[in-house]
Subunit: 307 residues, 2 copies
Amino acid sequence: MFVRSLRSVTHAPRISRNLSSHTKMSPPEKKQKTGGYSSTTCWGGIPGRGEFVRLALEYAGVPYTENNENNILSTLGNPAKIGIPPHFAPPALQLPSGHVLSQTSNILNHIAPRFGLAGELGSRLAERSEEEEAEEKPLTKEERERAEEERSTVNQLVLITLDLTAHDTHHPISSSLYYEDQKPEAARRAAAFRAERIPRFLSYFQCVLASNPATGGTTKCKGKGMFLVGARTTTADLALFHVVDGLLYAFPRRMKTLRESGEYDSVFGLHERVQGENGIKEYLASGRRQPFGMGLYRHYAELDGEE
Amino acid sequence: MFVRSLRSVTHAPRISRNLSSHTKMSPPEKKQKTGGYSSTTCWGGIPGRGEFVRLALEYAGVPYTENNENNILSTLGNPAKIGIPPHFAPPALQLPSGHVLSQTSNILNHIAPRFGLAGELGSRLAERSEEEEAEEKPLTKEERERAEEERSTVNQLVLITLDLTAHDTHHPISSSLYYEDQKPEAARRAAAFRAERIPRFLSYFQCVLASNPATGGTTKCKGKGMFLVGARTTTADLALFHVVDGLLYAFPRRMKTLRESGEYDSVFGLHERVQGENGIKEYLASGRRQPFGMGLYRHYAELDGEE
């Protein structure tokens, strides 16, 4: 358990050399986006889905306390301890009001506008200071509709990345059994996952990135963009970064083949870009990030293959 | 493919005899909540996740066209046909603006306030007509925060119900193989699912329902409420209805034992209540609802058991 102090860095995205020309201009320096959080508690559980929430908190520079007590569900599942309604599983996050939310994509969708991570328009849905409101007109109805659409598009892409989590490749029968008790089934499932699911997923995200008009994309998926929505980092970028990172850890041989095919350059480019973002860069260097190991992404050499 | 005309019924929830006294008063008759949709297109795919979206559309009385062309992904995955970004899988829904959204929970979270299905406060986030706005003060900042929290709490409960979908019990190795090619694995997985997953899920929702203060719940989960959030129907209620319905179809023997235990009376009570809601009642009687069969919920006698 730890609390760290508020970072004072800004979150202007680092612009990569590979971006197409009309996204090369530096965006204006942005104020830190802590979304009203002075600090918060994150019930992360074992390294796994909690990491998607941590990445957003680290990007926003919000200090947080980790609560990873042994039987985390005796708190999260008990209305007398956590409030109404109780929760089914970690991760969970305490909001400034004290209310606790769970379910990874739900937490991210709730905080994304507050942290400037819901796209250019989507992030304008967050409440702003009186000072900011005086400077800027409120959203019109039409703008609000478009902002809600952008926020939901970001959420949609987060959900797709979460669908790919590799958990079931090592626990296809039950998560309450050891891996050792389901090895033959895991071998079959991992083979299908490597052959079909990973390439389908990478192809899909390659097309999303390469068709993004804000970074020179075309409807034929021929661009070189490395932002999923618009030309700024969203929770979807952070989530895709983490899933690709997990796949590189769990299936290094398969991912090497796929990377070297050259078919997914924007996806691997996004992975590299996010590593250098303000907030994320410092987090990765800090030693705070929990290593992959016994959580969602595990490396078993016998489940990997070049194909 | 079909288009049906706009229903003119209202959506005041039917109040069950079993509800605790302070929710027995009839809510005011509500105007139809079509959320600005005069009609829409739903890419539902095979009976499965699309049904969660259909239930919300039917509840709201929004006419929709089903698009279930054979190779649905050749449209949904192609930016030249569907717009930006492309989609990974059905279901998808066209918004009044023309923009298409996918991912079940995302679609539901987007439309829930517009259809009055995001809770009492959460539903106030939707844009209202000028007439309605004149009658009512706009939300204060604090009200908007609480409304966003309620909307996210509804989304959280939707996500938990979707986590329970039974698909992997009959396809634990790969969805691209036939059931017949993964029968031994399916038998092992279904046994674990029946023994652990279903009771854990029903216990959790029983506690959410029985701790809901709006229907007389207590933090010891001793109430008899049948609404997940507040005292009105939300997308979470519709989703839980459908999952319980699917489990009753797929695992009739197991569910009979669990129902007769008397431990999950609020969950089974909600299932019965939702069947009688305006909009849902007519839908179930219409013959439009696709039967369970070869989709998410399948009945294989050898995967069921009383335990």
